[in-house]
């Protein structure tokens, strides 16, 4: 629809610019200005007040020697691997729903999958905190009731860890060694509503007749997935990969609320975003926090660019 205009017409239509000004102003003030300010202040020793001192690259030099920051990148790397693994159930469930022959059931399952979305994120988070509670939580009760606990204790004794003990409830969020496993279990069975819905959108182009033809040719369920379904949702899988990387690296709200500003016992849950938050709002080192933020932003930007380069997403 957009068409190039003659000069006169541009002059007559100048008022159109007024339409974009409000959005532009909002974006400049609340998105561009903070980003610029973060880069600017990352070169300062600044505790949030009027006084600040230019210290060149000192914040960055400090960051590269900051053992907490370095280990937080290792932690976030582990979380990234967990989250890659956690993509599998969503793909599985999307394929299964698509293979269900009745349209009515397909719609019903879609609707049921959306239901968890109506619970505010924060509530989901606190309910999980409750599930992981050592004394009252569902997880420990299931582990006790199924006898899985004695297996854990046996493994514990066998390897000489001191993590699981008989008659002592497992403190998922209070024992340093268990923080990462707890973050892994978190969200079981790891079905992302949004993920399932975009995979289903990709699968839509496969008609029932394709399945029927495959069945007549005697192709088994696993090969069907490999040769029919997977190629069709590859675009969506790559897309969620990009979203997952950006999301995992940038988020820290979960760690902040599930554990605390210090990443929980032993700081095992510390991620780069949380360390930035901690430095700014706990220690008051705003300049250093800005530097951490800038480093993190460049890591995310780099990974996004690599992704866009090697992973083509066709519209």
């Amino acid at each position: 629809m957009a068409s190039t205009l003659s000069r006169q017409k541009v002059l007559r239509e100048w008022k159109l610019y007024l339409f974009v000004v409000p959005s532009l102003v909002m974006v400049l003030i609340f998105s561009y200005f903070p980003a610029g300010s973060a880069i600017y202040h990352s070169f300062f020793d600044w505790s949030g007040g009027e006084a600040k001192q230019f210290i060149n690259w000192d914040n960055y030099i400090r960051a590269f020697h900051d053992s907490t920051l370095l280990s937080s990148f290792v932690t976030v790397g582990a979380l990234l691997i967990f989250n890659l693994f956690k993509m599998i159930p969503s793909i599985l469930i999307a394929v299964l729903i698509h293979r269900v022959t009745s349209d009515k059931w397909q719609y019903a399952y879609r609707a049921l999958l959306v239901v968890p979305m109506i619970v505010p994120h924060l509530v989901t988070l606190f309910i999980w905190k409750f599930i992981l509670d050592p004394n009252l939580g569902a997880l420990n009760r299931v582990i006790e009731a199924t006898g899985f606990k004695s297996i854990l204790v046996w493994i514990n004794d066998f390897f000489g860890w001191s993590v699981f003990f008989k008659d002592v409830p497992i403190g998922w969020l209070s024992q340093p060694e268990l923080i990462l496993p707890a973050l892994f279990i978190w969200g079981f069975p790891w079905i992302g509503t949004v993920g399932v819905l975009i995979y289903l959108a990709g699968l839509q182009s496969i008609g029932q007749e394709v399945y029927e033809a495959a069945e007549l040719d005697g192709i088994g369920p696993f090969k069907k997935f490999l040769y029919i379904e997977l190629p069709l949702i590859l675009t969506q899988v790559r897309l969620s990969l990009v979203l997952l990387i950006v999301g995992t690296l940038g988020q820290y709200g979960l760690q902040l609320l599930l554990l605390n500003e210090y990443g929980g016992p032993g700081g095992r849950g510390m991620v780069p975003g949380l360390w930035m938050y901690n430095r700014a709002f706990v220690a008051g080192e705003f300049g250093y926090a800005c530097a951490i933020g800038v480093i993190l932003a460049f890591v995310i930007l780099g990974l996004t660019i690599i992704n866009n380069r090697y992973v083509r997403v066709d519209k």
């Binding site: 629809m1 205009l5 159109l16 409000p22 609340f30 973060a38 069975p189 819905l197 950006v246």
Partner: protein
């Protein structure tokens, strides 16, 4: 239906049940927290510790939990509703204006302005929170709901304009030309053509904006100090911080926090299902 097709259909039905079983297994686990939230919300701590899994008979339900929750969460709900509704409406209004600018005519510099918006899609927002806090402080907007609204509106612009622009460009050009012949101003064209013709897409974007505003807790946690101004996020975080936890009351509060979303869900399920897939294509 021919005999062959009939056999195939029968074959399908026969092998379908394992799929249903697996799907139900996952869905039930997925819905389990909801069930717990609902049934625990009617228990006091004693009956909860005695029997955590099964619901109490309705005659023993502790409605007091819900009264407590309404008293506690009610004001937070009102604040959150105010922020979410105001932010959603203003964000979409500005985005429609912006998208109209980009899709109507190709004006000088519109390419540059477009790039300015698109670049933000790539820019990670995680860095922003610290300078944003200082910016709001210098604007003396700390501890106000206005700050949440402004940041929410700004944050939604890029994605909303992006989606709306592509939608508006596909609208028939004749409509706008005819309106122009009749002397309609640009603003009148937006009111009379753009908004009526893009109902579903605006609805979808509105749901996404609303969800975003509803789920936000980091910014409110950092900038809000007065209890009267707390949004749900901050309120629930403080509730979680109590030492002796009255689980029934807590769960009732959680449930109450979800009720506005449940209502929206019931009325706009189709938009919801579609909107979420649209939102995921953002990247």
């Amino acid at each position: 239906m021919s005999a062959a097709e009939n056999t195939i259909a029968k074959l399908h039905r026969k092998v379908d049940w394992p799929k249903h079983l697996i799907i139900w297994f996952f869905i039930l686990i997925e819905l389990f927290p909801l069930y717990m939230m609902f049934q625990v919300s009617f228990k006091d701590n004693a009956s909860f510790i005695q029997q955590p899994w099964l619901p109490l008979p309705p005659t023993e339900w502790q409605w007091g939990n819900w009264l407590f929750a309404i008293k506690l969460v009610g004001p937070y709900l009102a604040n959150t509703l105010f922020v979410a509704v105001t932010a959603t409406i203003s964000s979409l209004f500005l985005a429609i204006l912006g998208a109209y600018f980009f899709s109507r005519h190709k004006m000088p510099f519109s390419g540059l302005l477009w790039a300015l918006f698109l670049f933000l899609m790539l820019l990670p927002t995680v860095t922003n929170i610290v300078p944003l806090f200082m910016l709001l402080k210098s604007m003396s907007l700390l501890n106000t709901l206005l700050a949440l609204i402004l940041v929410g509106v700004a944050g939604g612009q890029v994605f909303n304009i992006f989606v709306l622009r592509h939608f508006l460009e596909d609208l028939p050009k004749d409509l706008f030309e005819a309106a122009e012949m009749d002397g309609a101003s640009h603003f009148q064209q937006i009111i009379n053509i753009v908004i009526p013709m893009s109902g579903p897409i605006i609805g979808t974007l509105a749901i996404l904006s609303f969800l975003n505003a509803w789920n936000d807790f980091l910014l409110p946690l950092i900038i809000l100090r007065d209890k009267e101004l707390f949004t749900l996020g901050v309120g629930l975080i403080y509730l979680d911080g109590e030492y002796v936890k009255p689980w029934g009351k807590i769960m009732a509060s959680y449930f109450l926090a979800a009720i506005p979303l449940i209502l929206i869900f019931l009325f706009t399920m189709r938009l919801f299902v579609r909107g979420l897939s649209a939102g995921a294509i953002k990247g």
